[in-house]
């Protein structure tokens, strides 16, 4: 399963959103997620992908944004660990 697919599955589970609405460019706000729901979701993302989000704020508007950040962090933090 790709990063994007995993994120989509998590969104369906956590928020009961319809998977057909979860296109990569779908805006989180339009899906009904406010800033707090996104914080809550990113908390679970950290668990799922075994990563740690940086302390500085990152701009997250779409599902693709989440996916890109996750892929970048997974790579960086794998490198750092090896």
């Amino acid at each position: 399963m790709s990063t994007l697919q995993t994120i989509q599955r998590m969104m369906v589970e956590q928020f009961e959103l319809k998977s057909e609405d979860l296109t990569p460019d779908a805006e989180l706000e339009a899906l009904g997620l406010d800033s707090l729901s996104v914080i809550e979701f990113m908390f679970n993302i950290e668990d799922e992908f075994q990563i740690k989000l940086p302390d500085e704020r990152v701009e997250i508007k779409t599902i693709q944004d989440i996916s890109s950040i996750v892929e970048r962090l997974v790579l960086e933090q794998q490198k750092a660990a090896s």
Binding site: E16, G32, L36
Partner: protein
């Protein structure tokens, strides 16, 4: 000249009923909501009974997106408020929203969230806890969610005075309208503290009722010789309070007028109740209502079923009511819905208001062994529906010594 304040909407989510009709029907039938606590920690408790809201599925009421930001005690408050607002057919135009507010009471607010966080940090030693913990757990979360849901831009305040929290919330909300600071107030209380740690703390205080082994539902026995403590409960009750003229203008259905309120402090002991302080609250509420003792036709007692508490309240009623104390029916509905702490004042005031509406007095159940020191008419075991009520009182006497008394009267237009 203060303005008159009326009740135009009721909402309740309680262990004995999930709406006002079900709630009052069960109270009149003497049905108890007390039973074995259903939880994953019950076997670790010494006392395993509680008044729990059964068959509660949050997703029946809220979307999953919303739920991640709404604590259990806020959920209860929102459910009760939705009923109350609908019941009142309340609509607030944009210019009215700054003149509408919310006052709620709670004892321990988001106790479950705090406890979950502590388990993560101290027991599991994880480096981080749920990011919304603060917003979920804060004591004013419930009132703030009500403010958000109904665009209440006036005062939004949470009262925390243990068992009298929501009685004080209602009384102070009433004052806010009386003195012209608001036209509409949602008022009530919410509590969701049936958590492992909180129940352990109550166990240690030795004020909880021991389980009645033959009938767990009958464990809470207010005013009875064999009473031995209170039973913790959860839930919420919310009322719509409104300036009487506004209510009349829009042709709202009026349940009752709030005519009397007072709060006092014992200033004598942190937990031991004191009849003198309670008497002051009752007497001052009567004075506020410009009523004599004989004008009160029913008292919903604080009646926790603790050894000392029921005797002190009995004394206080005698001191405040004189000879009439023996003629006024007094019942403790806690025998059925348990002690909802920060929500209990609102739940019981609502029971009194419904009694007024239906001309019916709910009983004190489990009262089979009279106590010579508790010698008033406690409406033992069987409710009364052959009565005519014109005014009712609700007592709330808290740990910390904070007392509150509310009086509601059948509404008569001038």
């Amino acid at each position: 000249m203060t303005r008159r304040v009326v009740i135009t909407g009721l909402g309740i989510f309680s262990p004995v009923g999930k709406n006002p009709t079900e709630f009052f029907g069960n109270l009149m039938a003497g049905r108890s909501g007390i039973g074995h606590l259903q939880s994953d920690f019950t076997e670790k408790l010494s006392i395993r009974i509680a008044a729990q809201i059964r068959k509660y599925n949050p997703t029946d009421h809220f979307s999953k997106i919303k739920l991640s930001g709404i604590e259990r005690f806020s959920q209860f408050a929102l459910i009760a408020a939705e009923q109350a607002v609908k019941d009142a057919q309340l609509e607030l135009a944009e210019h009215e929203q700054p003149r509408a507010g919310v006052y709620l009471g709670t004892g321990m607010g988001g106790a479950g969230t705090l406890e979950d966080g502590y388990i993560e940090v101290f027991q599991r030693e994880v480096p981080r806890i749920k990011p919304l913990s603060v917003l979920l757990g804060m004591n004013n979360a419930a009132s703030s969610h009500l403010s958000l849901a109904y665009h209440l831009q006036g005062p939004n305040v949470t009262f925390s005075t243990a068992c009298s929290s929501s009685a004080i919330a209602i009384g102070e909300a009433c004052r806010k309208i009386q003195h012209g600071y608001a036209d509409v107030m949602l008022a009530g209380g919410s509590e969701a503290m049936l958590t492992h740690g909180v129940i352990k703390a109550w166990e240690a205080l030795r004020t909880l009722a021991l389980e009645d082994t033959t009938d767990p539902a009958a464990s809470c026995k207010p005013f009875a010789k064999d009473r031995n403590g209170l039973v913790l409960g959860e839930g919420a009750a919310v009322l719509v309070l409104e300036d009487a003229e506004r209510a009349a203008r829009r042709g709202a259905r009026i349940y009752a007028e709030i005519v009397g309120y007072d709060c006092s402090s014992d200033a004598s002991h942190i937990s031991k109740p004191n009849a003198a302080g309670q008497t002051r609250a009752i007497t001052n509420a009567l004075r506020d209502a410009r009523m004599r003792p004989q004008d009160i036709h029913y008292i919903n007692a604080h009646g926790t079923a603790t050894l000392v508490g029921d005797i002190e309240e009995t004394k206080a009623i005698k001191q405040a009511f004189g000879d009439h104390a023996y003629r006024v029916p007094v019942s403790s509905t806690k025998s059925m819905h348990g002690h909802l702490m920060g929500a209990t004042g609102a739940v019981e005031f609502m029971a009194a208001v419904l009694a007024l509406q239906h001309n019916a007095i709910p009983p004190t159940i489990n009262l089979h062994q009279p106590d010579p020191e508790c010698d008033l008419d406690y409406v033992p075991n069987v409710g009364r529906s052959d009565v005519e009520l014109n005014a009712v009182m609700s007592n709330s006497f808290a740990f910390g010594g904070s007392n509150a008394v509310l009086i509601a009267k059948r509404f008569e237009p001038r």
